[in-house]
C-alpha cells in the first residue's frame, strides 16, 4: 500500500537459478578507490561472488567488475580492515566451513570497458563448525583494525584477530542462532536468543570466561572458572529478523532490533527507547542518518513489496518496490549519493531512489467497447420490453425445459400383493394388505446419469417399505432401471390422500441439479375393505343424481366378493378406522353416505362420484350424468375440525413459549452458578443446583410434551385435510362447479395442511379466502378495499369461519372463481383500480350508518349462527326424505349478514372527509417516500 513507487536508477539480475539471503549483499568502496564511491558486492549461495560498479541509466556488461566462482556457498560478505598493518578495506567472505579474506584490486584496461577487478586471497581460516553468520569490529577497542567473530549454527562464537584465531565460546542456553552484532561503544556483542531475549555479552567477559571448546564441558559443568554471564538482556517477546547498531553524531546510540512483527529501539544499556508495531511482515531493514536532531531514520522493506522510511515511529515515506528484498543497503555512487540498494532472493539487484512517481498500481480498464448508441438503444428497448413482459405475467417460474433427462414411470398393479409386505417390518397383530408398485427410471441423456436418488413420500397412514433408493448409474434409454416399492396402510386413521409422490434427484450433464417427479395413484382397496353396512351413523351426506340408482356391488366390484348380487347398501371400512356405509335409494335417484366420523366420508364420496360417472359413460346415454348435493353444507362439522387443529396449534405455541421461558430460567440459573463457581471465596450454592436440576427436568418434560403436541397436530392436520377434501367436493356438487373453478377452489381451500414455523393453514386459508372475497367474489367496491392482515397466527378462528361461510354463500349465489374466461382483463390493472377506489370520498353519514348497521348485524349473526347450526343438526338426524324437503336456502350458519364489511374497512373514515386533508396525506407520502425512504446512502465498508 503505497502512493509512490521507488524510482529505478539501475537494476540487474545477479546470476540466475541462484539463491541469496540476508548476508549476501555488501556495499563498500572495496577497491579502495580514491574517489570513495561505493561498489556493490554480492555473493550467492552457489558460491559466485560478483562486484558491480553501477552506472545509470541501465545495466551494461562493463558494470560488472568481477565475477568469480568460489569453492563453497557464500553466506555473508563484509568489508573491513581485516589485514594487519594495512589501513584499507578488505573483503571477508564467510563460507559454511571457511572464512576467507581477500583483497580486491582494480586492473585498468586499455579502454574504459577494459577495467576490471582482481581478487587475491590474503588468508583464510578453516572453521570446525558450520558457520551461521559473522560480525566484525574493533573488538577490545583496538585501533584501526577489525576483528571478526563467527557464530556457528550450534552456538559457538569464534573470534579471529585478523590472521590468527583467538578463542571460541559457546553461548549459554543456546538453541537456534540469531542475528549477531557488535556494539563498539560498550565493546559487547548482541544477539537474540531462542528464548526471545536480546542478550548482550561483554567482549571482556567472553574472553576471560571458561574456555569451553566442547559442548560436553558446558553441559557437565566440569570445568571451573567464570561462567559466561550476560551483561544485560531485554525481553522482546518475539523472534528477531535482524539487528543493527546505529550511532551518529546527532542521535544517541540506538540498537535496532527488527522482530517478526515489531521494530524495537533500545539504548546501549538495554532499556527501550521506542517500539513500533507493524501490520505487515517485514523482511529487512537498515537504520541511517536522519537530518533531524535526535532521531534516526529506518529503511524497512516488507513482504508486500513496499519500502517504508520511518523517522523514529512516524512513517515518513512509503514507496513500492518491484520485488521482495532480503537485504537493503544505502550506497553513494559517483552519479548519485544515497541510493537504496536492494537484493531479493533470486538475485535481482535494484538501485533506486525515492521520488513521486505514482505507484505501479494501474487499474485495468474495464472491458471497453465502442458503444454504438443506436444499437444500444435498440437493445435497450428490446430488453425493456422483455422485462415488462416478464413482470406483467408475474410468473417468476422459469420455463420448463424442453426435454427432461430422466423420465419416471410407475406401474400400479390391479391386484394387491398375495403376501402383505407390512408384516416384514412391523410385527403387528393386524396385517393390512400391501401393493407393490414398480417405478421405472429411464435416462434420455446422451451420457449415463450417476447417483440418482429416488425418494418416495407417502402420507400417513400409507407407508412404504423403501423411502429412498440410490441408483449408482443409469445408462442409456435402452436399459431402464426399475425398483419395486411396496405400500401398505398402517391403519388407525383416515388417509388424507391416495397418492404417493416419487421424486428423483440427479445432476444433469451440465452439473446442474435436476428433479423428476411423478405421482402414484393407489386403488381404494389399499386402505379399506368391504364390511357389513351400518344402519346408523352420526354424519350423513346425500347425493342426488339424474339417473336411476345402480347396483352398488357392480360399482364397487373390487370390494365385494360377488358383483352380480345387487346390493342397496355397502359398508366400507378403513383399515383400523371407521366404517362408511353407502346406501342407494331404491326409489329416488339418491345415494347416501354415512359414517361416524365426518372426515371419513371423503374418499368414499369421491370414489362413488368417480365410479358412477364412469359407469354411466359406458351406458352411452344421451343425457350426461350429473350428481348434485342439495345442501346444507356440513360447515359445523368442518368447523370442529378446524377448531381441533387450531387448538393444537395454540397448544403448541403455548408449549413453545413455556419452553422459551424455562430455557431462559435455566440459563439464568446457569449464570448464577457460574458466578458462584468462579468466585474465589467458596460460598454455598443456595440450592441453585436443585433449582437447576428441577428446571432441567421441566425442560425435558416440556420438550416431550411439545413433541407429543406435534404428533397430534399431524393427526388433526390429516383429519382437517380429509375434511377439506370432503367440503370441497360437496361445494363442487352443491354449486355445480366447473372443473376449472374446482381447481381454483382446491388451491384456495387447500387440502394440503402444511405446517411451518411462521405460517399455518388457518392464516394461509384465511388470506386466500379474503383475497377471493375481495376480487372475484366481491359484491361491491367496498369489499374490494379490505386490507389484508399480516400473516400470523390469529387469535381465534371466528374470522376464518365467517369468511368461509361467506365464500360458500357467494359461490352458491353464482359466484365464479375463474375470472379469466369472463373479463379477459389483465389482473393487475383490475387491482390497480380497486386500490384507488377506497380513497374516493364517501359521506360520513353513510359510513356511520354502515358501521352501526354492521354492529347490529353482527349481533344478529351470532344469534342466527346458533339457530342455523341447530337447524342443520336437526335436519341431519332426519331421514332422507325429510331432508329432501328442507330448503337449501340461507340456512347456513353465519350467512345472515352478507353485507358485512371486514372490520378494517371502518378505519379509513377519517382520511376521507376533507379532501384537503386527503391531499395533504397524499403529498406527505410522496415527499416522505423520497426524502426518507430512498435518500439513505448505504455505505459498505472496505
Amino acid at each position: 500500500m503505497s502512493l509512490f513507487k521507488a524510482r529505478d536508477w539501475w537494476a540487474t539480475y545477479a546470476g540466475s537459478d541462484e539463491e541469496f539471503d540476508q548476508g549476501c549483499l555488501c556495499v563498500a568502496n572495496i577497491d579502495n578507490n580514491s574517489s570513495h564511491f561505493d561498489k556493490i558486492i554480492v555473493g550467492s549461495y552457489h558460491g559466485i561472488l560478483r562486484i558491480y560498479c553501477p552506472k545509470p541509466p541501465s545495466f551494461k556488461p562493463d558494470d560488472l567488475m568481477l565475477e568469480v566462482q568460489l569453492q563453497q556457498p557464500i553466506l555473508q560478505v563484509e568489508a573491513g580492515r581485516f589485514v594487519s598493518g594495512v589501513d584499507q578495506l578488505h573483503l571477508a567472505v564467510l563460507h559454511p566451513r571457511k572464512l576467507a579474506v581477500y583483497i580486491v584490486s582494480a586492473v585498468s584496461g586499455a579502454v574504459e570497458h577494459g577495467n576490471h577487478y582482481s581478487l587475491t586471497m590474503v588468508y583464510e581460516h578453516i572453521l570446525e563448525r558450520s558457520a551461521f553468520n559473522m560480525t566484525y569490529g574493533p573488538f577490545g577497542r583496538v585501533k584501526s583494525k577489525d576483528f571478526m567473530c563467527v557464530q556457528s549454527t550450534d552456538g559457538m562464537l569464534s573470534f579471529f584477530e585478523q590472521e590468527s584465531y583467538a578463542f571460541g565460546k559457546f553461548l549459554p542456553g543456546f538453541l537456534l542462532p540469531g542475528p549477531l552484532t557488535y556494539v563498539a561503544k560498550t565493546d559487547s556483542f548482541l544477539t537474540v536468543s531462542s528464548s526471545l531475549l536480546v542478550e548482550s555479552y561483554k567482549y571482556q567477559t567472553l574472553a576471560v570466561a571458561t574456555d569451553a571448546n566442547t559442548k560436553e564441558d558446558i553441559g557437565n559443568k566440569k570445568v571451573s572458572g567464570k561462567k559466561l554471564t550476560m551483561d544485560w538482556s531485554f525481553n522482546i517477546g518475539e523472534h528477531a529478523v535482524d539487528i543493527f547498531v546505529f550511532s551518529s553524531s546527532n542521535a544517541p546510540l540506538s540498537i535496532f532490533i527488527l522482530g517478526e512483527r515489531s521494530l524495537f529501539c533500545l539504548t546501549e544499556t538495554g532499556s527501550i527507547r521506542f517500539m513500533k508495531k507493524f501490520e505487515y511482515n517485514p523482511s529487512c531493514f537498515l537504520p541511517y542518518n536522519s537530518v533531524i536532531e535526535g532521531t534516526v531514520n529506518v529503511l524497512l522493506a516488507t513482504f508486500n513489496k513496499t519500502l517504508m522510511v520511518y523517522q523514529d515511529v512516524a512513517l515518513a515515506w512509503a514507496a513500492q518496490l518491484p520485488h521482495i528484498p532480503v537485504a537493503v543497503r544505502v550506497a553513494s555512487f559517483q552519479e548519485l549519493k544515497g541510493v537504496i540498494v536492494t537484493l531479493d532472493e533470486t538475485g535481482y539487484l535494484h538501485c533506486a531512489y525515492l521520488g513521486t512517481d505514482p505507484s505501479m498500481m494501474v487499474t485495468p480498464a474495464p472491458e471497453s467497447r465502442d458503444i454504438n448508441y443506436e444499437e444500444a438503444d435498440a437493445e435497450m428497448r428490446e430488453l425493456q420490453k422483455e422485462i415488462k413482459e416478464s413482470t406483467l405475467s408475474s410468473e417468476l417460474l422459469p420455463r420448463a425445459q424442453q426435454r427432461e433427462d430422466l423420465l419416471i414411470s410407475v406401474h400400479v398393479p390391479a391386484t394387491l400383493d398375495p403376501v402383505p409386505q407390512s408384516s416384514v417390518d412391523d410385527g403387528d397383530e393386524e396385517l393390512f394388505p400391501s401393493i407393490t408398485v414398480t417405478v421405472t427410471l429411464k435416462s434420455q441423456a446422451p451420457s449415463p446419469l450417476e447417483n440418482v436418488v429416488l425418494s418416495v413420500i407417502s402420507s400417513p397412514p400409507l407407508m412404504c417399505n423403501r423411502s429412498s433408493i440410490v441408483f449408482p448409474i443409469i445408462g442409456d434409454r435402452s436399459e431402464p432401471v426399475s425398483a419395486e416399492v411396496s405400500f401398505y396402510s398402517r391403519g388407525g386413521s383416515v388417509p388424507s390422500s391416495l397418492k404417493a409422490q416419487v421424486t428423483a434427484t440427479y445432476l444433469a450433464n451440465s452439473e446442474a441439479p435436476r428433479v423428476a417427479q411423478t405421482d402414484i395413484n393407489f386403488p381404494m382397496n389399499v386402505v379399506c375393505k368391504c364390511c357389513a353396512p351400518m344402519k346408523n351413523a352420526n354424519h350423513k351426506v346425500t347425493i342426488d343424481t339424474n339417473k336411476p340408482p345402480v347396483n352398488l356391488a357392480e360399482i364397487f366390484s373390487d370390494m365385494v366378493n360377488d358383483a352380480v348380487i345387487p346390493m342397496a347398501a355397502i359398508g366400507i371400512q378403513y383399515y383400523g378406522g371407521p366404517v362408511v356405509t353407502i346406501l342407494a335409494s331404491k326409489t329416488s335417484q339418491r345415494y347416501r353416505i354415512q359414517c361416524n366420523v365426518f372426515e371419513g366420508m371423503w374418499l368414499i364420496l369421491c370414489e362413488l362420484c368417480k365410479r358412477l360417472e364412469e359407469h354411466y359413460k359406458k351406458t352411452k346415454d344421451s343425457v350426461q350424468f350429473r350428481a348434485s348435493f342439495m345442501g346444507p353444507l356440513p360447515l359445523q362439522e368442518y368447523y370442529e375440525l378446524i377448531d381441533a387443529h387450531f387448538e393444537q396449534r395454540l397448544n403448541q405455541t403455548k408449549y413453545r413459549e413455556l419452553l422459551a421461558q424455562r430455557a431462559q430460567q435455566f440459563r439464568t440459573i446457569q449464570r448464577r452458578l457460574l458466578a458462584r463457581f468462579k468466585d474465589k471465596t467458596p460460598a454455598s450454592l443456595a440450592n441453585l443446583d436443585t433449582l437447576l436440576d428441577g428446571t432441567y427436568r421441566q425442560l425435558l418434560a416440556l420438550g416431550e410434551a411439545e413433541e407429543e403436541c406435534e404428533r397430534s397436530i399431524e393427526m388433526v392436520a390429516s383429519n382437517l385435510s380429509c375434511g377439506t377434501r370432503l367440503l370441497n367436493l360437496l361445494i363442487k356438487l352443491w354449486t355445480n362447479m366447473s372443473d376449472k373453478d374446482f381447481e381454483i377452489l382446491q388451491t384456495v381451500l387447500s387440502p394440503e395442511v402444511s405446517e411451518s414455523e411462521d405460517q399455518g393453514w388457518e392464516e394461509i386459508t384465511d388470506a386466500a379466502i379474503t383475497h377471493l372475497l375481495r376480487t372475484c367474489l366481491a359484491k361491491s367496491a367496498k369489499d374490494q378495499a379490505v386490507g389484508l392482515a399480516a400473516m400470523k397466527i390469529p387469535k381465534d378462528t371466528s374470522k376464518l369461519k365467517k369468511h368461509l361461510a361467506l365464500m360458500c354463500d357467494r359461490l352458491n349465489k353464482g359466484g365464479k372463481l375463474d375470472l379469466s374466461s369472463q373479463t379477459g382483463e389483465p389482473f393487475v390493472q383490475q387491482q390497480l383500480q380497486k386500490a384507488v377506489a377506497p380513497l374516493e370520498p364517501l359521506s360520513e353519514m353513510q359510513e356511520e350508518e354502515d358501521e352501526t348497521g354492521q354492529l347490529q348485524r353482527v349481533q344478529d349473526g351470532t344469534s342466527s349462527t346458533t339457530d342455523g347450526s341447530l337447524a342443520s343438526e336437526i335436519s341431519d338426524t332426519e331421514s332422507v326424505l325429510s331432508m329432501n324437503n328442507s330448503k337449501p336456502t340461507a340456512r347456513l350458519p353465519q350467512l345472515t349478514h352478507p353485507k358485512k364489511l371486514l372490520p378494517d374497512l371502518n378505519k379509513r373514515v377519517l382520511v376521507n372527509p376533507g379532501s384537503e386533508e386527503e391531499n395533504m396525506v397524499l403529498k406527505g407520502i410522496v415527499d416522505a417516500a423520497i426524502t426518507n425512504g430512498i435518500s439513505e446512502n448505504h455505505e459498505r465498508a472496505l
Binding site: 552457489h46 549454527t153 515489531s262 399480516a790 374497512l905 406527505g924 459498505r940
Partner: protein, 510 residues
C-alpha cells in the same frame, strides 16, 4: 550451475533458517522434517519446524475478537446492568449529542451504531437482547456468527492445519511432559505458540504457561501475557486483567497495553480502555495501533468527532493507514462533504486498494459531488470487481443513483437485481416498496415493506414507510404500530413524529 549442487554443500539447518527468514515456511518445515528423520532428538530443527508451522497459521491475537452469542448473553462481567450514558458499548445510542450522526443521515448497523468505514472483527455485530432473539436473528451466510467463540473459527483454524499433515499432528500434546518443557525457556516459548496458535489447545497452553511463569519466578512478562491470552480465550477476563497488569509492572510493551484494552472492551468498560490507551501513548507516543484503538472506541460510542480527530492523528504517524483513511472518508461523506471524501477515497485507490467497495464509494462520492461523468464509470468497475457478497450492495447503490437522476425504471430494476443477488437485502426491499407505493401498487408495496421490516427491525425507514402506506389506505391502527416502531429505531425522526401527532388527533376525534 545446478541448483542442487550449491545447496548440497550447505548445512541443512542453515538452509532451513534461511527459508524461515524468507517466509518459505513450507520448505523450511520440509527441511526440518528431513533433519528430524535423521536425528529425532535434534532440538534445533524441532524448534524451527514448530516455529514454521506456527507462523503458517499465525494471526495476531490482538485483532482476533469474535464474540459468540453465548459469551454475549452469558456475560457475567458487566459492571452495571444499566450503564450511565456514554459509558458502555452495549448502549451506543446513549451518547448522542456530541457529534453523533443521526440515522437519518448515516445508516445504522443492527447494533445501533453508525455504519463504519472499515469492517473489523467483532465490532459491527449486534448485541441482541435475549438468547431467543439472538438465535432467531436471520442467520444468513453473511451474518452467521458462532454460538460461542470456543467453537467457530478457532476450531476451524486448528483443524485446518492438521489436514495438511497426513501422518497426524507433528506434536502430540497429550503425551508431552509440560513441566519438563517449562524448565527450558527457549523451547517452551516456541512450544507455547505452537499449542496456542497451531493446535488451538488453550487448556494445555495455559498449563504450560502457568508452569513456565512459575519456573522463571514470575519475572517474565511474556509468560504473563500468554497466560492472559489463554485466560481471555477461556473467558476469564478478570484473571487476564490481573496477569496483564502484572506484566506491565515488569516491562512496558505496546502489546500488553493492547491486550489489556481488549480485555476492558470485552468487560464493556470503554472508558477504562481509553484511559489505558492514553497511558500507553505517553510511553509510546505515536503508536498507530494505540491511536486506532481509541478511535475505534469513540466510533463505537457514536462519538464521530473525536474518532475522526484521532484517525487524523493516526494519519500523521502513518499516512498509508487504510482504516483511518476509509473512516475519515466515510465521515466526510455522511457530513455532506462528498468532495473531500472523494479525495480520501482517491488516495486509497492510488495506494493500490482495488475492490468493489472502493469503487462503489467513489461512484457515490462522484455522484454527490456532481461529477456525473465519473459516476457510471466507477460503478461499472465496481460491478466487474464485485463478488457474490457485495454484488447486492453495488446494485443497491446504483439504484440510488438511478433514483437521484429520476430514472425510476432503472432504479426499480437495480433494486430487483440487488435482491436477486442477496434476497436478505432489507434496504433494497424498502426501496422497492417505496417505488411500488409510488406506482400505486399498494399491496406489493406493503409486502415489500413488511419484508424489509422483518429482515432489519433496526431500520426505521421500512416502519415509517409502512406507517404512511397504512395511513394512506386508512388502516390507522397498523399505521400507528409502524410509526411507533419507526420512532423506536430513530426517536428524533420528525416526520414520524408528525404522523404520530396526526394519528393521535385522529384517534382523539374518534
Amino acid at each position: 550451475m545446478a541448483a542442487g549442487t550449491g545447496t548440497m554443500q550447505m548445512d541443512p539447518l542453515f538452509l532451513a533458517m534461511s527459508f524461515y527468514r524468507r517466509r518459505k515456511l513450507e520448505e523450511c518445515a520440509e527441511v526440518c522434517t528431513q533433519l528430524l528423520k535423521k536425528n529425532p532428538y535434534d532440538q534445533a530443527s524441532w524448534c524451527l519446524k514448530t516455529r514454521a508451522l506456527t507462523e503458517q497459521v499465525y494471526v495476531d491475537e490482538v485483532d482476533v475478537d469474535e464474540e459468540g452469542i453465548a459469551e454475549m448473553l452469558m456475560d457475567d462481567n458487566a459492571v452495571a446492568q444499566l450503564p450511565r450514558p456514554g459509558t458502555s458499548l452495549k448502549k451506543p445510542g446513549t451518547s448522542i449529542g456530541h457529534g453523533a450522526p443521526t440515522p437519518g443521515v448515516r445508516p445504522m448497523s443492527q447494533a445501533g451504531r453508525p455504519v463504519s468505514g472499515f469492517v473489523r472483527p467483532g465490532t459491527q455485530s449486534g448485541r441482541p437482547g435475549t438468547m431467543e432473539q439472538a438465535i432467531r436473528t436471520p442467520r444468513t451466510a453473511q451474518t452467521a456468527r458462532p454460538v460461542t467463540s470456543a467453537s467457530g473459527r478457532h476450531v476451524r483454524l486448528g483443524t485446518a492445519s492438521m489436514l495438511s499433515q497426513p501422518d497426524g499432528p507433528f506434536i502430540n500434546i497429550a503425551k508431552l511432559n509440560l513441566s519438563k518443557y517449562a524448565q527450558r525457556q527457549n523451547l517452551a516459548k516456541v512450544l507455547f505458540e505452537y499449542i496456542f496458535h497451531h493446535e488451538n489447545d488453550v487448556r494445555n497452553a495455559l498449563e504450560l504457561a502457568a508452569k513456565a511463569t512459575e519456573e522463571c519466578q514470575f519475572k517474565d512478562w511474556w509468560w504473563k501475557v500468554q497466560l492472559a491470552k489463554s485466560y481471555y480465550r477461556l473467558g476469564m477476563y478478570r484473571d487476564a486483567e490481573k496477569q496483564l497488569k502484572s506484566a506491565l509492572r515488569d516491562q512496558d510493551m505496546v502489546d500488553i497495553y493492547l491486550y489489556l484494552c481488549k480485555v476492558y472492551r470485552r468487560l464493556d468498560q470503554p472508558l477504562t480502555a481509553v484511559d489505558i490507551y492514553k497511558k500507553a501513548l505517553e510511553k509510546f507516543p505515536g503508536e498507530t495501533t494505540l491511536l486506532t484503538g481509541i478511535a475505534r472506541i469513540h466510533e463505537e460510542l457514536n462519538d464521530m468527532t473525536k474518532a475522526v480527530q484521532l484517525y487524523k492523528e493516526v494519519l500523521h504517524f502513518d499516512n498509508t493507514h487504510v482504516e483511518a483513511i476509509a473512516c475519515i472518508a466515510t465521515h466526510h461523506f455522511y457530513t455532506d462533504q462528498p468532495e473531500i471524501a472523494l479525495r480520501f477515497y482517491r488516495r486509497l485507490l492510488q495506494m493500490g486498494v482495488y475492490n468493489a467497495e472502493l469503487f462503489t464509494n467513489l461512484g457515490l462520492c462522484c455522484f454527490f459531488a456532481q461529477q456525473y461523468d465519473m459516476t457510471l464509470n466507477c460503478f461499472e468497475r465496481a460491478l466487474s470487481l464485485a463478488s457474490d457478497e457485495n454484488m447486492s450492495d453495488v446494485w443497491y447503490n446504483i439504484g440510488h443513483i438511478a433514483v437521484g437522476i429520476g430514472d425510476i425504471q432503472l432504479a426499480y430494476q437495480c433494486f430487483r437485481l440487488a435482491l436477486a443477488s442477496n434476497n436478505d437485502h432489507a434496504e433494497a426491499y424498502n426501496n422497492v416498496g417505496v417505488l411500488e407505493m409510488r406506482k400505486g401498487h399498494t399491496e406489493q408495496a406493503r409486502a415489500f415493506l413488511q419484508a424489509a421490516a422483518g429482515l432489519a427491525p433496526h431500520m426505521y425507514e421500512p416502519h415509517y414507510n409502512h406507517g404512511l402506506l397504512s395511513l394512506k389506505i386508512g388502516d390507522l391502527q397498523s399505521s400507528h404500530n409502524s410509526i411507533s416502531k419507526s420512532l423506536e429505531g430513530y426517536p428524533d425522526h420528525s416526520d414520524s413524529r408528525n404522523v404520530l401527532t396526526q394519528l393521535k388527533e385522529d384517534f382523539a376525534a374518534l
